[in-house]
């Protein structure tokens, strides 16, 4: 019996999936001996024609992004140049299949050898074209896998992704692959969790797996509950016997609250609530991968309730849908990719149907615990007032229908410099949570997703710490709770500065908590290193 499976790769598309593993068998190698016939040329031309027809049919029923990928394959196949090397090989006596496969392999090799990941990522499309024509030559049906299962393989052809029925859920796990591949783009646009680069793994089909697309991990379902605050099963058992105190203190005795950042209540399985000061950030944008699910109030309520139940009365901060920029709105063809445009609360106020449904679901779940609602990407007090008005209107509707509910306090993400500089203007905000990832990119005017400016991120980080020294005291002066939930909160090198800024509430991925707790216990509340 193999030991528990735990694979780590790169998250290519966020989200969670449970399902049965389906491992793609290795493709057999083609033999040159498959006897050439006089009709090889005609056979190849016919196979290419049939492949174009099949792709055209697939493209006609697809969304814009999928269609663009298929159009590319169609254009390639319609180009007479793609056939030239194959036809030359056939004239020399090779069989159609072998000539085509060898000629395409030569072409693909040039792409695979590139030092540019984006060019390498295109080789997957070319291999897809190659294999589709080979299947058309042999009359084989295109490969598929059972609905709802977790696909595992070296790579996945875009055409396979597009032909598969994803309505039963599932996920994609690749031994190799690239986050820039077309299939990764498709997975992101369809909300299918995907992990790439987990390495060649000996996994048998039929295993029950849990895939966390956001963090790029894959494990046995049995292993999911086997986690503790530091993510290891061994520590979980020792902590179960001797749970350390839940509270965290600086060396000079100032109490610090540590909370968890999570993407799904499923991550809470196996975590002991007494080790946490509650949940500081539950992101909701990854929970519902389709527009249909976003509109499903009861389903949303159930998920929010799970988190509240787990926390046993401790605060649970649920952030409203933070779509836009690098997190596309499911099923939307509107371009929302600008970091400075319609995202977070701006998008929700422009699409109040989404906000109204989420507000109702949150208020219906609220009586199950201590719920706090966090508004993302707030710039002006008017946005908080409009959000509060929508909550009030929906609460009135629930009351009219005699549905049990509660109106939660509304706090704001402080991630836009304009909001950070004037916290006293946000009278309706019940609490402040600094989101340092976005704050840093806005302070440095350097987009997080642009590799070309990644060299500026360190300068942005230093300036962000200076910025926090000025603005956190302003927020604290309002006498409202102030916390931090960005990556910086779990950065042990930044902790002295963050304490010096005045932060006393930190939220981070559960696995980072033991190290943060230990680091803080060696520091004074002013951020200085404790003696001894």
């Amino acid at each position: 019996m193999p030991g528990p499976l735990r694979l780590k790769g790169q998250g290519a598309s966020p989200g969670f999936a449970r399902g049965t593993a389906h491992v793609l068998p290795h493709a057999g190698t083609l033999s040159a001996a498959s006897a050439p016939t006089a009709r090889d040329r005609e056979c190849l031309l016919l196979a290419v024609d049939n492949t174009i027809r099949a792709l055209r049919a697939l493209a006609d029923g697809s969304d814009v992004q999928s269609r663009a990928i298929l159009e590319f394959q169609i254009e390639m196949l319609k180009d007479p140049a793609i056939l030239e090397p194959s036809l030359a090989r056939i004239r020399k006596g090779e069989s159609a299949a072998f000539a085509w496969a060898s000629a395409m392999d030569d072409y693909v090799r040039g792409f695979e050898a590139s030092d540019d990941e984006l060019i390498r990522a295109r080789s997957g499309d070319l291999l897809d074209i190659k294999n589709q024509v080979l299947r058309a030559l042999s009359g084989e049906a295109p490969p598929d896998f059972p609905r709802g299962s977790i696909f595992l393989g070296r790579d996945m052809a875009p055409s396979m992704f597009l032909a598969h029925d994803w309505s039963g859920g599932g996920a994609v796990v690749l031994f190799g692959g690239s986050v820039a591949s077309h299939v990764a783009m498709l997975a992101r646009s369809r909300g299918i969790p995907m992990v790439v680069g987990v390495g060649e793994a000996a996994i048998e089909s039929g295993r029950e797996l849990f895939v966390h697309g956001g963090e790029g991990s894959v494990q046995d379902i049995d292993g999911v509950g086997d986690r503790s605050a530091d993510g290891t099963g061994a520590a979980a058992s020792s902590q179960a016997k001797d749970p350390p105190p839940q509270n965290c203190k600086t060396a000079d005795g100032v109490a610090i609250t540590l909370r968890a950042n999570i993407d799904h209540p499923a991550e809470l399985e196996g975590l002991l609530p007494q080790l946490f000061g509650g949940i500081g950030l539950l992101r909701t944008e990854y929970l519902f991968p389709t527009l249909g699910q976003l509109a499903d109030e009861v389903r949303q309520e159930e998920i929010y309730r799970q988190a509240l139940t787990w926390a046993r009365g401790k605060p649970v901060t649920i952030r409203l849908f933070d779509f836009g920029a690098d997190k596309p709105l499911p099923d939307s063809e509107v371009d929302l990719t600008s970091y400075l445009g319609l995202r977070g609360i701006r998008l929700l106020l422009a699409r109040p149907d989404l906000l109204r449904t989420q507000a109702r679901a949150l208020m219906r779940a609220a009586p199950a615990g201590q719920l706090r609602v966090l508004i993302p990407m707030v710039t002006s007090p008017a946005e908080v007032e409009q959000t509060a008005a929508i909550f009030a209107a929906e609460a009135a509707g629930l009351a009219e229908r005699q549905i049990e509910h509660a109106i939660p306090p509304l706090g704001i993400m402080v991630e836009v410099p304009a909001a950070a500089l004037m916290p006293e203007a946000f009278q309706r905000a019940a609490f402040f949570s600094f989101g340092t990832n976005d704050l840093a990119q806005y302070i440095g005017a350097s987009a997080r997703d642009s590799a070309a400016v990644s060299g500026l991120h360190e300068a942005s980080r230093v300036a962000t710490l200076r910025f926090l020294h000025h603005t956190v005291p302003l927020a604290l002066a309002t006498q409202k709770p102030v916390g931090i939930c960005g990556d910086l909160a779990a950065d042990t090198l930044a902790l002295p500065e963050l304490l010096a800024c005045g932060f006393r509430e930190f939220s981070m991925p559960p696995a980072r908590m033991p190290l943060v707790r230990e680091t803080i216990s060696g520091l004074n509340a002013d951020g200085s290193k404790a003696r001894g």
């Binding site: 966020p14 990928i69 159009e71 590319f72 072409y107 040039g110 984006l118 986050v179 992101r188």
Partner: protein, 114 residues
């Protein structure tokens, strides 16, 4: 719109043919799948022959062949010479250069980080 690097016929006397121009690729990713589709489709809309030379390497690729254009793995910063011969040659060169300068009408990076 004026192109950063476009210099029209006359500035490159060694190039034969009725119309020719040079243009630098400023698209972040270069001629990957979608830009290649857009480029070759536009090229195919002209009756004249269209050739593309990459970084002055002396090899003229068929500008209507996506296989050849993709195969050249053209990246940001590469300089293309676009040459057309036949009916509509002027217009073809102008339109194709403008497309490259407009980043293939694709302002947003096609591949976004997860």
């Amino acid at each position: 719109m004026t192109g950063r690097q476009a210099k029209h016929a006359g500035s490159a006397p060694r190039l034969a043919g009725p119309a020719c121009a040079r243009v630098e690729v400023t698209h972040d990713i270069g001629l990957h799948a979608r830009p290649s589709v857009v480029f070759t489709r536009l090229a195919k809309s002209f009756p004249c022959t269209i050739g593309v030379e990459v970084n002055g390497d002396g090899v003229w690729l068929n500008g209507k062949s996506i296989v050849k254009i993709m195969g050249a793995r053209i990246r940001k910063g590469f300089v293309l010479a676009i040459r057309a011969d036949g009916i509509g040659a002027e217009d073809a060169v102008k339109a194709l250069c403008a497309l490259v300068e407009r980043n293939f009408d694709e302002e947003k990076s096609h591949a976004r980080s997860a």
